[in-house]
């Protein structure tokens, strides 16, 4: 049809029509005048005979309209005209909405990137994982008690052999391995460099459904005994390190001393099963575990639990079914391995052993673990902020409805129906909402940059232009438009009454209700933010159990320098001697890991004279430390002695434990002088507990301390430790260069992975609660400002409508203070109602964030009192301004008003 042509010639058609109607009327008038009528009578007669010209013209135009879209477009044009007539109103509304929608979009962008993104693999919904815990490393215990979240190679193979529920089961090492890379041909000037490698089973890529961008990925044939050592590389590594070299396939590379051949590049965008952080640079078959890790084989070790697995469910099999089948096989396998003469303890452990399959769609994400709770809190907060913004806008629309009643009356007379009017009003609201949404996207973009700066080190690719985010923003905008637009639209369309002469009911009641809602929500938000802030203060002020000041941390990795195990003890001693002689160094030590590094290791143990409860998992955290460890970190020695230079490979083995250890296993009795087998079985001699030290927080400063044991690094032969801790006399960062140099002087091949001061690292562990605390405070204050502006607007409107009444009162002798009291009293009433409801809402809602609070009760009276005071003070101020204006009313002017 030619309707497209018509669409463009529409303007012509319309002007022809109206001209034609004008001509018609003129011709008729001329004729009637010629017939002897006066021109006035003729005009009247012509109009009467013609009918309602406006309506007829509209009906004539409607003929050309093809569908609802056009009338919607017409509504939109009308709406734009309306808004342009009131730019101030439009700007205030759009800004309010931009704030509400923008914050929602910003937080959702991060939620989308961190919590909702599926792995970029084939049908991720079919995947299950043995564990989605982001902590790396394996469990330990002989046997493991309770849930197995890592398995030995032997158990993995038994699952593969008896597989019923899965299309495939692929194992991978839970954690990455540092690689020392040598390219035979000089790819770059440097001789050796570091990279990340991950050990995976041969079917890893097949199970995930990931192909190669170049060459091939690893296959089952690469992961068999005596296979040729091959590796696949990630797309990022290929483009960044190898400059997208098309001849990368077939290239030889030396990894941790073993020559591997690169067989291919994995598909672009594939980063493994671990979300957040870079992809591993190399994927290597499990068979090469001893070569890659440079340690004894774990392929035959039945007590090394080092593998996680990902499996793809067969169609029609649920995760629960697969889990049930797997657990039956699992216990049968454990029983067959243990044999008939298993001790009662082992039999009990087998009975309790279980495997829990978790959904694999989203992979393993450190970020999800870390940010899930705060993101939920923030999302809740911004939804409430949007609610406040909506109420604000609804109030603005309501206060304008008085002005618009005249316009609506005209449209009703011109023949508009009620439905049409509601549609028109809603179009205006939607237009405002979409404008607000657009502005909100800009704001969100800016906010995400700010958020991104904090979480960028975790490689979150959060962009507001992601399709999910855009859809979210659009949906939120439309819902918002409906939410704030519907009530005013329905009210306005009832203007029919007004046509009959009444000025229309005042929407004050509804407006006051909305104000109370706004104050309630702001109050709730502020209470929540106040609790988080107090909790943060508590966290930062708490005693961590060590003195963080003046401590420098330098990480190295002797394994990467190709140091032999038997030379380690000498190396450690050399490093410490060297560093200790530096000026400005008070003491130095080496440990497996340092506090707040994100690392920790947990081992099972047997304590002489301690009998565990049935099913008790006797475990402790363990750290291997050199002499001067407690002195360097200023962890107080409470009884006995610290680990010192007298503890050598040939002297009796010793351990030092913390207070939580004492409380748990010795019930307050002095543990010094007792013996324990820490992390090993009773075949080898036990450690003697020689000292008791204070509790130091190693992982989560918000958690109560756990049992912790320290053993002498020198008494664990061949143990690779790389954390050098140095206490300096002055600013620790000033000593950084010298310490680094001293370590490299000992062996120039020792790589320095990181140099950091302990105060800085501790501060960094509070980044997340600080971010959440700051943002929730900022958002709540914004909500309160919106509510205050809203209250101001409503009170100003109320005063304006009552100018006459106030004038009468003043004429009858009311004083200015009486008027002030009248208006402020009304504002105060609203504020108190809002604060009251807010207190009730906050009392029930802050319980939701209880797990994020540290040493603050969800119903903390100080926070609640302070917040109530702030809310009432701010709202009083907001109603004081209109009150002053009311008090200035001149009775004479007011009485003449209208």
């Amino acid at each position: 049809m030619n309707w497209i042509k018509q669409l463009f010639s529409r303007r012509r058609l319309y002007s022809d029509l109206s001209q034609e109607i004008r001509e018609h009327l003129e011709e008729k008038i001329d004729e009637l005048v010629a017939g002897g009528m006066s021109s006035e009578e003729a005009t009247y007669a012509a109009r009467r005979d013609f009918g309602n010209a406006i309506l007829i013209e509209e009906r004539g135009r409607e003929v050309w309209k093809c569908n609802w879209l056009e009338s919607a477009l017409q509504d939109a044009r009308y709406a734009i005209r309306q808004l342009r007539r009131n730019p101030g109103f439009a700007i205030v509304v759009v800004l309010s909405l931009a704030l509400g929608i923008g914050l929602n979009t910003a937080i959702f962008t991060v939620v989308d990137a961190v919590l909702l993104r599926s792995l970029p693999v084939k049908s991720p919904g079919e995947l299950v994982l043995l564990s989605d815990s982001p902590s790396t490393g394996g469990q330990s215990g002989d046997p493991l008690i309770g849930r197995w979240s890592t398995v030995s190679y032997e158990v993995y193979l038994s699952f593969v052999d008896h597989n019923q529920s899965f299309q495939g089961i692929a194992a991978f090492r839970s954690g990455r391995d540092a690689m020392e890379v040598h390219w035979p041909e000089a790819v770059s000037g440097r001789q050796s460099e570091r990279a990340d490698g991950q050990l995976v089973s041969g079917n890893y890529f097949e199970v995930l459904g990931v192909g190669a961008a170049l060459g091939r990925v690893l296959g089952a044939a690469d992961d068999v005994p005596n296979a040729r050592p091959v590796a696949a590389i990630s797309h990022d590594y290929w483009t960044e390190r190898l400059h997208s070299d098309p001849d990368a396939v077939g290239r030889a590379v030396d990894l941790n001393g073993t020559p591997f051949t690169i067989v291919g590049v994995a598909a672009q965008g594939f980063f493994g099963e671990r979300v957040g952080g870079d992809a591993p640079d190399f994927w290597l078959p499990l068979t090469f575990q001893p070569e890659v890790m440079r340690r004894e084989s774990w392929l035959t070790a039945t007590r090394e639990y080092w593998l996680n697995f990902v499996a793809r469910l067969k169609p029609g099999v649920t995760r629960q079914q697969a889990e049930a089948v797997l657990n039956v096989q699992f216990r049968q396998f454990l029983e067959s391995q243990a044999g008939a003469k298993a001790s009662p303890r082992v039999q009990q452990a087998i009975k309790e052993a279980n495997i829990l399959l978790v959904p694999g769609r989203y992979g393993i994400s450190f970020l999800r673990d870390f940010y899930s709770a705060p993101l939920h809190i923030l999302m809740g907060i911004v939804v409430l902020v949007l609610l406040v913004a909506c109420a604000n806008v609804a109030n603005l629309l309501l206060s304008r409805s008085a002005v618009r009643q005249k316009e609506i009356a005209v449209r009703l007379i011109a023949g508009a129906t009620r439905g049409r009017l509601v549609r028109q009003m809603l179009t205006e609201s939607l237009l405002l909402a979409v404008l607000g949404g657009g502005a909100g996207l800009l704001l969100a973009n800016w906010c995400v940059h700010l958020l991104g700066a904090i979480i960028s080190r975790d490689h979150v690719r959060a962009v507001t232009t992601a399709p999910g985010v855009l859809a979210f923003t659009l949906a939120v905008s439309v819902l918002t438009g409906l939410a704030f637009g519907l009530v005013p639209a329905l009210r306005l369309s009832r203007t029919e009454l007004a046509v009959k002469g009444a000025a229309g009911r005042s929407p004050s009641g509804l407006m006051h209700g909305l104000i109370v809602l706004q104050i309630t929500v702001s109050m709730t938000l502020l209470a929540g933010a106040g609790l988080l802030a107090r909790s943060l203060v508590n966290l930062e002020a708490q005693n961590l159990g060590f003195n963080r000041d003046n401590v420098l941390l330098v990480q190295t990795d002797p394994r990467l320098a190709g140091i032999k195990k038997e030379d380690l003890d000498g190396l450690y001693r050399q490093i410490l001697d060297r560093v200790n002689t530096l000026p400005g160094v008070r003491s130095a030590t080496i440990a497996y890991y340092s506090p707040m590094s994100g690392h920790y290791s947990t081992v099972g143990l047997t304590i002489q004279g301690y009998s565990p409860h049935p099913g008790e998992n006797v475990i402790t955290n363990l750290n291997e430390v050199a002499p001067n460890y407690f002195e360097t970190l200023a962890i107080p020695v409470l009884a006995g002695r610290p680990i010192g230079a007298q503890d050598t490979p040939i002297s009796p083995k010793v351990a030092v434990v913390n207070q939580a250890f004492e409380a748990r296993f010795f019930h307050g009795q002095n543990p010094v002088g007792h013996y324990a087998w820490i992390g090993h079985d009773s075949q080898s001699p036990p450690e003697e507990i020689v000292g008791l030290v204070g509790d130091a927080r190693y992982v989560d400063p918000g958690k109560s301390p756990e049992p912790f044991a320290y053993v002498a690094l020198s008494q664990v032969p061949g143990f690779f430790a790389g954390d050098v801790e140095v206490r300096t006399t002055g600013d620790p960062s000033a000593a950084a260069a010298e310490v680094r140099q001293a370590i490299q002087d000992v062996d120039s091949a020792l790589p320095i992975a990181s140099v950091q001061t302990l105060p800085r690292r501790v501060t960094a562990t509070f980044d997340q609660p600080r971010l959440v605390g700051k943002l929730s405070m900022l958002f709540s204050v914004l909500a309160l400002v919106l509510a205050a502006v809203g209250l101001y607007g409503v009170m100003a409107y109320w005063v304006a409508r009552r100018t006459q009444e106030i004038g009468v009162r003043m004429a009858l002798g009311a004083r200015k203070t009486d008027v002030l009291r009248l208006v402020v009293g009304r504002g105060l009433l609203l504020a108190l109602m809002g604060a009251g409801f807010g207190l009730m809402a906050a009392l029930s809602l802050t319980r939701l964030i209880a797990s994020s609070l540290y040493h603050v009760k969800p119903a903390d009276p100080i926070t609640f009192g302070l917040v109530s005071f702030v809310v009432v003070a701010v709202t009083l101020f907001a109603s004081y301004i209109p009150a002053r204006r009311a008090a200035k009313v001149d009775p004479m002017v007011a009485l003449r008003y209208e």
């Binding site: 018509q6 058609l13 022809d16 029509l17 001209q19 034609e20 109607i21 001509e23 018609h24 003129e26 011709e27 008729k28 005979d49 013609f50 009918g51 309602n52 010209a53 309506l55 007829i56 013209e57 009906r59 004539g60 135009r61 409607e62 003929v63 050309w64 023949g415």
Partner: protein, 113 residues
């Protein structure tokens, strides 16, 4: 609420009368109304304006064509003219109408007997 306009005619009747009138000769809106009123001896009460939406419908369906011109009384007028499609449509409508009228008449006559 009052109905916006009284419909004394059945749907399509106005269009049919317009087409029939235009078949005789091209005319502008005002002349059309006057002609219809005159020929029906003022029996048909039509609002003059209601002609225009009907004309727009005919224009849209391509049954008539419109052109601006100057009338005999030296006035700028928009003259409507039947198209070939319009003639066909008119013939069909008229025969439909006659058949319907015949049916209605028979029923009415039977009702009297």
């Amino acid at each position: 609420m009052k109905k916006p306009d009284r419909r004394d005619l059945f749907p399509g009747a106005l269009e049919m009368m317009i087409l029939r009138t235009l078949r005789r000769q091209p005319m502008h809106g005002y002349a059309l109304v006057q002609h219809i009123k005159r020929t029906s001896d003022e029996l048909l009460q039509i609002e003059e304006g209601s002609l225009y939406p009907a004309l727009q419908r005919l224009l849209k369906d391509g049954l008539v064509r419109a052109e601006w011109g100057i009338s005999s009384t030296n006035r700028r007028v928009r003259r409507y003219q039947l198209t070939a499609a319009g003639i066909k449509h008119l013939n069909r409508e008229v025969s439909n109408f006659e058949r319907m009228l015949e049916g209605v008449t028979r029923v009415l006559a039977g009702g009297e007997a």
